[in-house]
Amino acid sequence: MARDQMNGSEIILEALNEQGVTDIFGYPGGAVLPIYDAIFQQNRIRHVLVRQEGGAVHAAEGYARSTGKVGVVLVTSGPGATNAVTGLTDALMDSIPIVCLTGQVPTHLIGNDAFQEADTTGITRPCTKHNYLVKNVADLGRVMHEAFHVARSGRPGPVVIDLPKDVLMGLGDYTPKSKVKVKRYNPQVKGDIKQVKAAIAALAKAKMPIIYAGGGVVNSGPAASQLLTQFVKMTGAPCTLTLMGLGAFPASNKQYLGMLGMHGTYEANLAMHACDVMICIGARFDDRITGRLDAFAPDALKIHIDIDPSSINKNVPIDIPIVGDVGHVLEDMIKVWRSTQSKVDSKAMNAWWEQIDKWRHVDCLKFNQGKDVIKPQYAIQQLCELSRNLKKEVYITTEVGQHQMWAAQYFGFEKPNHWMTSGGLGTMGYGLPAAMGVQIAHPKSLCIDIAGEASFLMNMQELSTIKQYGLPVKSFILNNFYMGMVRQWQELLHGGRYAESYMSSLPDFAKLAESFGMVGLQATKPSEVRDVIKEMIKIDNAVICDIHIDPTENCFPMIPSGAAHNEMLLGPNDETEKPVSEEGMVLV
């Protein structure tokens, strides 16, 4: 045996180490035991043992989204890999860089229906950015480094490396990072300067411009968020963010209109509808954003900046496309704006802001907090207020449903990478493991999963992981005893027939917390909310807060399915006046 030869498992750990990986999330099993043996014999990389592989991927997503690093997952063959599929799809939809190592039966058994065998590369092909089956240990080093390159560059995404057990045990030479030249997949980073100039010229002529930014700004790094803020300020244009983009522009800024889309603000959606020039930066015209396509911003000249050419002209025809990393393109746009001494038409701009202020005056997020039942909006507003001036950083994750939308509407984010949510796939059960991953990356910070009780039950096995690693993760459950968003749609579209959306056998969440050695808190009256939140923040342990909210509360404002931006429902009284169209009913 040559001295520099290693076995496959050692090669994997060496490659992870060279890639700067310090934490991985996983669950052992027969096919990956050699890697676990190698992990046992080193202390450079910490392994976090989850309770189900789905939790591992969401934890890695939270870790990745809050740090900008690649999240790493290690699972076994067969059920280990198939349990990871939901998380991988989630990461693909939301462009989160993940490298997922999956065990596989030995190469000579592949295709034999061996124990815990699954066609992992076949199953994960449509839900990964790329995947590999490594059949030769000599390829392993190169594949590992290429996988990290693919996961993090361009539009980020999940990459699976399927590892037969004999490859993990076989000896081979390690190819270090410096020797790996990735000849393929080099996405364009710089935008075409001609297009940048055309975009600036169009913006300078605009009378009613709007900047609509998304998760791509967050993915491009904190510098891109700063450039966006600078660009918005220098152009004087209003700025709205997608669900994935929250934090890319400070919520407290006067030019911020709030989130747009189905549950976005009235002013953001009406400004989108009325604008004459729209600059979309790192967002993808998702159906939750556009509403009815043929009525989407009908009079606007549309400029779209995206690193992924397939996002451009996918749903909405674009007048000025710019392919490139938003950070680089924004830098160029700022330069061109300055060098051409561009100025906005200040008279038109004043009129535009006057109009926007009228829409703002509607105060679409207002709610009435009475004395008896807790309004979810109030609970989140108080959570935001009481966690604002802490000495520690505050990270918010969410599950999926009404609570997620309320969190997006009422929790103001000032910085990127502090908001982790499942946007594209809408994966219930995302928030708790994601918060766990965030807390692993930021041990001293306050990590809160704003949850609904139904979503929380989907991955609550991870409470055991949280306990094992002593993570002070806070679960803030807005408990309405319903799958709230399902119930809301049943109310809106199905005559109030609440089929299977009510849960009658919920656990006592406070006692559940206690059974894991955590602290359980409960609020059932509005007067208790602030004290419970203060208590939760103070406790240096995991806490589950069970906040009993108004079970009939719905999420507003809302663009019903199949409607346009200017056909928003502002509240329950609006529902009867604007019934949902037949076409709208078939949409999700």
Partner: protein, 175 residues
Amino acid sequence: MNAQTQTENTHTIAVLVDNEPGVLARVIGLFSGRGYNIESLTVAETDAVNNLSRITVVTTGTPMVIEQIKAQLYRLVPVHEVSDLTLEGDSVERELALVKVVGTGEMRVESLRIADIFRARVVDSTNESFVFEIVGKSSKVDAFVKLMEPLGLVDVSRTGIAAIARGVVGMEHVG
């Protein structure tokens, strides 16, 4: 420009890919997963030194859909180049078919006569059958097969379209 009112056109797209396991599944999966049509698909290694294969795919869609297909193909990691032969100037398209005709007497003579007109070659023969090899545009192959139907056609095997741009420019080989 409105997606609904755009007319559909047929495009021939050449894709240069790494010749590695799963690459064809990736391309086919992209078409089925996103609801695009495949009318013809051919694939073979074309550059053994750089380990590259060339896929020729014929598909139909509105300009917006065709643009999506190309962008989605280009996004795949093993894809080096995507070329729309229908948009990027003139190209030559050829298809090969093997056509088996069984018959005797006048029918048999007639099939041979038509084969001669189409410049199809006989590549296998028995006393009662021919296998013809015909090369040409798909429309020519279609016409030939149609004429063979009443003359004892029993089997057809077609390669699908291979296509290449006319003129001096080749697809860039990355290597």
